[in-house]
Symmetry: C2
Subunit: 120 residues, 2 copies
Amino acid sequence: MPPDHLSTTFAALADPTRRAILARLASGEKSVNELAEPFEMSLPAVSKHLKVLESAGLIARGREAQWRPCRLEAGPLKDISNWVERYRRYWEQSFDRLDDYLREIQAKEKKGKSHGGKKK
Amino acid sequence: MPPDHLSTTFAALADPTRRAILARLASGEKSVNELAEPFEMSLPAVSKHLKVLESAGLIARGREAQWRPCRLEAGPLKDISNWVERYRRYWEQSFDRLDDYLREIQAKEKKGKSHGGKKK
């Protein structure tokens, strides 16, 4: 069974170097040499990461003979965003619960001060 | 070098069965047996997926002796959402460009109709 599109995208993003490459491409097209610079990595190693990103459709590469620039392709990122968005209410709920809890503690503290604050 | 938190989460999500397990947990806590039902999968296979999700902090398991229910933990999903959100303008830009292009075509078609519509 070939991996589905979302799984391929998630797998491509499961690596800090590949995410750093995308972050660098966010500021514009770059050649493989330019991309390799900050990583202290061999060109073949960087090329391997670029191939994974390209297979996932996260980058596209120009066809200009010499420097085939890489550019960000945001479509698969939109799919990730749509997928994760359906869970938003779960993390917002848990922060709501934390909020409720903190408010409860603050209310108790205030009550404690106004009732018993002069006993000390 | 241990994998970073985001990479572990992305890797855990790079599997359709694990994403389906999360989707099922979105409706509430479930036992391993309940989770295994729709997947036609052995319990050990499901357990393996649950371990990956648990290591990534995407689920938590109750400590009740018998049926240790699994529940969704949305924190890591929030981190994914925050990470992908910074690229929103890129996919919105590409849709804007498509919008511009479609508007341009429609304008040209209208112009064509009003100028040359009667020639046929």
